[in-house]
């Protein structure tokens, strides 16, 4: 830097000179460097656009799956808490309905024969039932009329 002693009264006393300089060939190389940077930027935005495309395609599918799951949870959890029995009864009925649906001739007769062996109505039980439902007069009139 050159040293100079100057008395300055106003800006008019000064030379309007640019005190800065640039590296050699700076302006000659500038456009090439700018072009490289622009190409890099375009490459980055192309990559970003294709990434966004995939996400855009998957987004509605993910939303639907999440909504469906949420709906199931919102219905099932409180329902189970407030009506636990109806769920099990319903399940039993559903099971019976399914098993009846699966009946054929062979296993139908098997079921009948199983029932006759295990669920026999005893005579004593029958008399007890009849005496509780009808009086002696009604029994006599039925027997002799």
């Amino acid at each position: 830097m050159k040293k100079q002693e100057t008395h300055i009264d106003s800006l008019a006393d000064l030379q309007k000179k640019q005190p800065f300089k640039v590296p050699d060939s700076y302006f000659d190389n500038f456009e090439a460097r700018l072009q490289t940077r622009l190409q890099q930027q375009q490459q980055q935005s192309r990559e970003k656009r294709s990434e966004n495309k995939v996400i855009k395609m998957l987004k509605p599918v993910m939303w639907m799956a999440a909504s469906f799951l949420l709906a199931i949870l919102l219905i099932k959890i409180p329902f189970r808490q407030f009506f636990p029995e109806s769920l099990s009864v319903k399940n039993t009925k559903e099971e019976n309905a399914v098993s009846i649906y699966l009946l054929n001739e062979t296993n139908f007769y098997d079921i009948l024969s199983e029932d006759s062996q295990t669920d026999t109505l005893k005579t004593e039980d029958l008399y007890t039932y009849l005496s509780s439902e009808v009086n002696e007069y009604e029994i006599y009139s039925e027997m002799y009329n």
Partner: protein, 181 residues
């Protein structure tokens, strides 16, 4: 060198955009560089800012309104980029430093690409102590002889306010130069 209107027409067309952009860069790179350099002082910052300016120009071509001229539009982008760069550089150099003037004086004294004499250094240091608006106006008027009307479009301030800014800036600088003798 192409006229501005030819460049604008090229930029607006599909096929002519790239050659028009190259013509624009070729025509304005030096002018914009020196405008930016006076704001940020440091050469590397000026280089980055100049590239950012042209990249922004390329990305904003479709939003260019021909009401303002090409020249003022470019200078406006360059000025905004330079001020942003300066604020970021100031934060990076000394965290918590609020005084831009101190940062600029430090940058001047350590700049390997400063080619002026002692008087010019004193002048630059005096300019560095000005508030941002006055600094911009002073540089554009004193060194570039820019018309107040053009400055008004670039800085989006009235001509009257700019003239007042310049007058205050020039007075402060003269006082500063007398004090530092």
């Amino acid at each position: 060198m192409q006229e501005d209107q030819e460049i604008i027409d090229g930029l607006k067309s599909k096929n002519g955009r790239e050659p028009a952009f190259r013509a624009l860069v070729s025509k304005y790179k030096e002018r914009l560089y020196w405008h930016i350099r006076k704001i940020v002082i440091n050469h590397d910052d000026a280089d980055d800012t100049l590239q950012n300016t042209f990249i922004k120009v390329w990305n904003s071509i479709d939003s260019f309104r021909e009401e303002s001229g090409l020249y003022t539009w470019l200078y406006r982008i360059a000025t905004n980029e330079a001020v942003t760069c300066l604020n970021q550089a100031k934060k990076r150099s000394v965290p918590g430093l609020d005084d831009v003037g101190k940062y600029l004086i430090g940058a001047l004294r350590s700049d390997p690409y400063f080619d002026g004499d002692e008087v010019q250094l004193r002048l630059q240091e005096a300019i560095a102590t000005l508030p941002e608006k006055q600094r911009l106006v002073f540089n554009m008027r004193y060194f570039d002889d820019m018309k107040y009307q053009d400055m008004a479009e670039i800085l989006e301030t009235s001509v009257g306010a700019l003239k007042a800014s310049y007058h205050h800036a020039a007075k402060k600088i003269e006082e500063c130069l007398k004090m530092t003798e």
